[in-house]
Symmetry: C2
Subunit: 222 residues, 2 copies
DNA sequence: AAAATATTTTAGTCGTACCTAAATTAATTA
DNA sequence: TAATTAATTTAGGTACGACTAAAATATTTT
């Protein structure tokens, strides 16, 4: 039951369902899939039936969908491809950090195990992609490092930037200006109650960042 | 009229029509497309209508199809992508010579100009792919070096292997055994009338190769 | 708890890209 | 040149993956 071939659409649905499911634990609603894929709910229902029949998800009418063991396995392989291609685009082809996602969305559907294994080797078996997201290995094993938002730190605590969530260019420019990248050390100076913005110390100076920005920069404590 | 987006199928048809047309000069029959793509003639007729409507080919009922200026332009871009990916797979990912075609067939349909331009740069603007086929540049310009078959040489004449046509593993193994690759010098010793096989001198020894093999090894005269 | 609202599913369509069977046109052979 | 054969097109059908409109179910509000 592992070697079934999925269409590009099926792969995209499965990936989205996995991403919405909190590593496979949560029920996923039809509406949430509809929103993330920009496809009408009625169409989502159709695909849910298809994926159910293939035992990639379990579906209870009007309740929601849960991704199966095998579904997770396949989703992780798609995510692995996506993130390896992102590393390739970023490191070898000099794509900007905010340009890689879109192209990787296409490359991830090219189906060749040899291709992805050789690419992995060529890139020296990277553990994270340029956003800081972990790359599953060939067996689907993945490092779940628990990452917290900057605002979860206590005042005075330090952390290392380990994941940057947002993908648009504006955000990318802001990070560039602040010289924030994966690996940058951050110290929380103060939380401003008024608008939930926070003051942090990076690169030898203190700056204030908004709540939204803070939420999109994940860190690991040191 | 240049920036229309084509489906994977449309791209495959267009590429096949170009390849069958002798660089755009010859009329291409519905049957020949059917054979090369392994698609029934009736289906080919459907697609011919579609491509005609988009002015990528000209079609005369019951006569044949001719690829248009714009069709050639697009076909050459697809071929460019295919060959650049072949270079990448061969040189960077250590694919074998006979393994690259299939994967490149998929990669060629990934649509991103930035991707292909940066790949080109990364590969140092290669002029030929691992089979010896010329790679069109960004503008669609391509080196048409006239290549002849070994059997077109006169006895005693020398040539350099410049293109290897066949793609299967058996043929690859044979070439490996004979140590024939792109760049190898070949001298024609004799033509054997009986079965049209030919005797050649390579790597300091003489060998006899069959008509079929000879036809699949193209050379340039020295 | 009934009514109103939101979510999900069903039913019926549509374009794409393929198919088979039959009709039409072109090419070849007798 | 007439008959046969081959190539091509037309007509009608199918699976996929999307859609809209309407029905069914769940949730929230009054």
């Amino acid at each position: 039951m592992t070697n079934l071939i999925l269409s590009k659409s099926e792969e995209n649905y499965l990936k989205s369902i996995y991403n919405l499911s909190d590593s496979g634990s949560k029920l996923v609603t039809t509406n949430s899939i509809s929103k993330i894929l920009n496809i009408e709910p009625a169409s989502v229902t159709d695909m849910i039936k298809k994926l159910s029949k293939k035992n990639l998800i379990y579906h209870q009418k009007y309740k929601g969908s849960k991704i199966s063991k095998n579904g997770i396995k396949i989703a992780l392989q798609i995510i692995r491809k996506h993130r390896l291609w992102e590393v390739f685009l970023y490191e070898k082809l000099n794509f900007k950090w905010d340009e890689i996602h879109e192209v990787a969305e296409e490359l991830e559907h090219v189906s060749s195990d040899q291709l992805i294994d050789n690419l992995d080797k060529y890139l020296k078996y990277p553990k994270i992609d340029p956003h800081g997201d972990p790359i599953p290995n060939k067996l689907g094993e993945i490092d779940f490092v628990d990452k917290i938002s900057i605002s979860d730190l206590n005042i005075g605590q330090k952390g290392i930037v380990s994941r940057i969530i947002n993908e648009d260019e504006e955000f990318f420019n802001l990070l560039n200006k602040l010289k924030i990248e994966i690996g940058t050390e951050i110290k929380l100076i103060d939380k401003i109650e008024y608008d939930s913005s926070i003051e942090i110390f990076i690169n030898n100076r203190s700056v204030i960042i908004s709540k939204v920005v803070a939420e999109n920069i994940k860190i690991t404590k040191v």
